[in-house]
């Protein structure tokens, strides 16, 4: 079973502010229980408005109201002290919570300090536990630190206050928060995939499909080309065999061709040998160019000049620091260790020294004869390869000519066929190269042939497509979820509003039995039945009835703090309001003036026995101060008195005493 959330005000303490310095406690006895009803009587001019603003600031964490008025305005008149404070003690779910407003009048700044018994001690800033933040914020605090103006707002058609308070109390607002979370998550999805609309998603899909289709087509084309090539090569082999067989029957030509082919094989072997020798020279940079040789040598010599690597490796100094004495015999103290450490960082490690020494072995002898020899050799080899290349081509041409010198009609036709096939194979091979290439300069997908390039593009687009697909699926799911949440919200609110309307009307009837005012329903505001207007007193009565119904059904034990609870209400209705007050909340704290007592207090006392009577006033009238000192309990500060006494409370008449 869920535990009810409970918040109580245990008291507050004000120091060096416009209201008299005082410390009020609403505790009943020694424990943390509070009085059901605490009446704080404050005559005009005692700083009631100041106290009200301080209380609202402390319980909302919003210091705008203080800053708007000007921080210096809160300073006690005539005080030389530059600091002031207002500290509210709360009990939240059984744990102590204290919110302090700290004023620095010198710099005109105000800061919060929070102390939570289950938290990290006293911390700067407004940091109540997260669960308490639901109530201790600017928009909600005004519902339980009740501002009379709010009563009118509950009934105003253009105000959403009624809906706001129902949403917060019933936690229906959380459903909207889920909607916001869904939106945020979807926005993140969009940020990741870059697609927010169905059109965008379809574009991604088409882009993916375009590459996929092209790739499939290219693979089929390549398969066909490879098959054609294979078939052409088979045919060519067959024709070559037939041509060779025919040549075998022509003795003179056959012998000449055999001689030429043998010569060609020798030339090929020589060419291959030259190629390898050239390659072996070229892959040595110093043999390729004397400039390279010079640069390599210059680099190695500069390492020598710089004494790199050193003869001593870093490890030597690291080990030295662990010794008791230095090699010079001095003790290895902190200073010596630091100096060695400094030197150590300038040295290379032993392993890298090995590599550098091997690099330095690439230094060449000062004479450049080796290069000259190698370079000359390379030039000779390349010259020989050129001659060899010409000879190979001539030999191949001669072989072809010998073969073509046969004038047999069938053979000529066979050779023609063979030549055509070779051309065809070359064409196919060139075409296949395009498909097997690793790059492609085509400007668009449809004219791209490289399968590797298309596969890479497909991979990229499929990732984009999948991401946008995920986002699209999430969007559909979130829309459905939001619809469900909206329906749940509507249904829950309809049920809750209906129940609250019913309960509120029962209470209104109790307060105003001879009045026909009733609530027809709750929209964004309290919709009155067939009535266009109501008096201030009626509005307040309705607001109390509404809030009582709401707090009762919500499962939260919150305090209810009201300034002048009965002031605008006709005398005959005050009693009914007083009957309602004990039912409003677990703890009711009210600021009251002496003229409000009539018609209200008597009825209140009839309905509730646990009432605390407090009177706060400035101690500038000696006769009242004297009387207060005979009260059951009092405290006096430099500029005020706080008296806890029922008789004193009832008899207190500041105005008359002054006269």
């Amino acid at each position: 079973m869920q535990t009810k959330t409970s918040l109580k005000i245990l008291g507050w303490k004000s120091n060096n502010l416009r209201c008299p310095d005082h410390s009020v406690s609403f505790r009943k006895g020694e424990d943390n229980d509070s009085h059901r009803i605490s009446l704080l009587q404050m005559p005009n001019g005692t700083g009631k408005t100041t106290l009200w603003k301080l209380l609202r600031t402390a319980l909302s964490g919003d210091k705008t109201e203080l800053q708007d008025d000007g921080i210096i305005e809160f300073k006690r008149k005539g005080s030389d002290d530059d600091f002031g404070s207002f500290d509210v003690s709360l009990l939240f779910n059984g744990a102590m919570l204290s919110i302090e407003i700290y004023f620095d009048f010198d710099s005109c700044t105000v800061d919060f300090w929070t102390t939570y018994s289950k938290g990290k001690g006293r911390v700067q800033g407004f940091h109540p536990p997260v669960e308490a933040m639901r109530f201790l914020n600017n928009s909600f605090a005004k519902f339980f630190i009740f501002d009379g103006e709010l009563a009118s707002n509950f009934l105003r058609k253009d105000s959403r206050k009624t809906r706001e308070v129902i949403d917060v109390i019933s936690q229906l607002g959380d459903l909207n928060n889920i909607n916001k979370l869904l939106d945020t998550y979807f926005e993140n999805c969009i940020d990741n995939c870059g697609v927010s609309t169905l059109q965008g998603f379809n574009r991604r899909k088409s882009a993916y499909q375009e590459v996929k289709d092209t790739l499939d087509q290219r693979k089929k084309e390549l398969e066909k080309l490879e098959s054609d090539e294979k078939s052409a090569e088979d045919s060519l082999d067959e024709l070559t065999t037939r041509a060779d067989e025919y040549i075998q029957t022509q003795k003179g030509i056959r012998e000449r061709i055999e001689g030429l082919e043998k010569h060609l094989r020798n030339l090929d072997a020589e060419y291959k040998d030259s190629e390898n020798r050239a390659l072996n020279i070229i892959i040595q940079p110093d043999a390729l160019s004397k400039h390279f040789a010079k640069r390599i040598t210059k680099f190695c010599e500069s390492l020598d000049r710089l004494k790199l690597p050193e003869n001593v490796a870093r490890e030597f100094f690291i080990e030295l620091q662990e010794e008791n004495n230095c090699i010079c015999g001095r003790p290895m103290d902190k200073e010596a260790k630091n100096e060695i450490k400094k030197q150590e960082t300038r040295l290379l490690g032993s392993e890298i020294i090995t590599v550098l020494n091997q690099l330095k072995s690439s230094k060449l002898p000062p004479e450049i004869q080796i290069f000259e020899d190698k370079n000359q050799e390379l030039k000779e080899i390349l010259g020989k390869m050129k001659e060899n290349d010409v000879a190979r081509r001539d030999c191949s041409t001669e072989i072809e000519m010998q073969k073509n010198s046969i004038d047999d009609e069938d053979y000529v036709a066979l050779i023609d066929k063979k030549r055509n096939l070779e051309i065809r194979i070359d064409d196919i091979s060139t075409a296949i190269d395009k498909y097997r290439a690793t790059t492609d300069s085509a400007k668009n997908v449809k004219s791209t042939y490289s399968i590797q390039v298309l596969e890479k593009e497909l991979n990229k687009r499929s990732k984009e497509y999948l991401k946008s697909k995920e986002a699209q699926i999430f969007q559909v799911k979130s829309q459905l979820t939001k619809k469900l949440l909206e329906n749940a919200y509507q249904e829950a609110q309809r049920t809750i509003c209906s129940q609250i309307t019913e309960d509120t009307n029962v209470r209104i009837e109790q307060v105003m039995p001879y009045n026909s005012i009733r609530i027809a329903g709750i929209e964004n505001y309290l919709h009155l039945e067939g009535q266009k207007g109501s008096s201030e007193g009626e509005k307040l009565s309705i607001a109390y009835a509404f809030l009582t119904s709401l707090f009762h059904g919500c499962g939260y034990y919150l305090p209810f703090i009201v300034d002048s609870p009965a002031n605008p209400i006709d005398l005959e209705k005050r009693g009914k309001i007083a009957e309602l007050v004990p039912k409003l909340a677990e703890q009711f704290v009210t600021f009251i003036i002496s003229s409000e007592r009539g018609g209200f207090l008597e009825a209140l006392e009839k309905n509730e026995s646990d009432i605390q009577y407090l009177t706060l006033f400035r101690n500038n009238i000696p006769s009242i101060v004297e009387k207060a000192k005979h009260a059951k309990s009092y405290q006096e500060t430099e500029n005020g008195m706080l008296v806890e006494d029922k008789s004193f409370f009832w008899e207190f008449q500041m105005q008359k005493e002054e006269e």
């Binding site: 072996n280 070229i282 680099f299 500069s302 390492l303 790199l308 790059t439």
Partner: protein, 154 residues
């Protein structure tokens, strides 16, 4: 995983007809041109590279000290570091050289060498009208390009 040499993907097609037995030949020819012209590809251009081997394969293994020395000399020159500045030279050596890699190069060192290779490939592409069809034609033109480039740098 050990760091590997990276060569431009496109160079694979470009050298295809020359049919060198290992890819390191393609890398070497490009690297030499990049070093001689002190031309490096940018980080963005390196995206189009592919890795192939994590050591200097034979027949390059025995001459790797010369290749690395030439690379370091070029890099120091390109960075504007005077060869008499001990501290600056040592800093680069520490950044680029490591005994813990088969190439003796750190990740950073290898990556910078790869950039010369990619820069050299650009030169090859620009200077050759067609892709070389025979090793003889390629050697002749490569040797010419190196000689011409060094003549203009001295």
């Amino acid at each position: 995983m050990a760091d590997r040499f990276h060569a431009p993907i496109e160079s694979r097609d470009w050298f295809k007809k020359l049919d060198f037995s290992i890819r390191m030949y393609d890398y070497y020819f490009c690297l030499m041109l990049g070093l001689v012209k002190k031309r490096k590809a940018s980080d963005e251009e390196m995206v189009n590279s592919e890795e192939f081997v994590e050591y200097f394969p034979e027949p390059f293994g025995s001459g790797k000290n010369k290749i690395i020395s030439l690379f370091l000399e070029t890099e120091l020159s390109l960075l504007g570091i005077d060869l008499s500045n001990r501290e600056a030279v040592q800093k680069i050596l520490t950044e680029y050289i490591t005994p813990n890699s088969l190439t003796w190069l750190t990740k950073k060192g290898l990556s910078e060498m790869d950039k010369y290779c990619a820069g050299g490939f650009e030169i090859l592409r620009d200077e050759f009208d067609d892709r070389p069809a025979s090793k003889y034609a390629f050697f002749l033109n490569f040797e010419r390009l190196i000689t011409e480039a060094l003549a203009t740098t001295d």
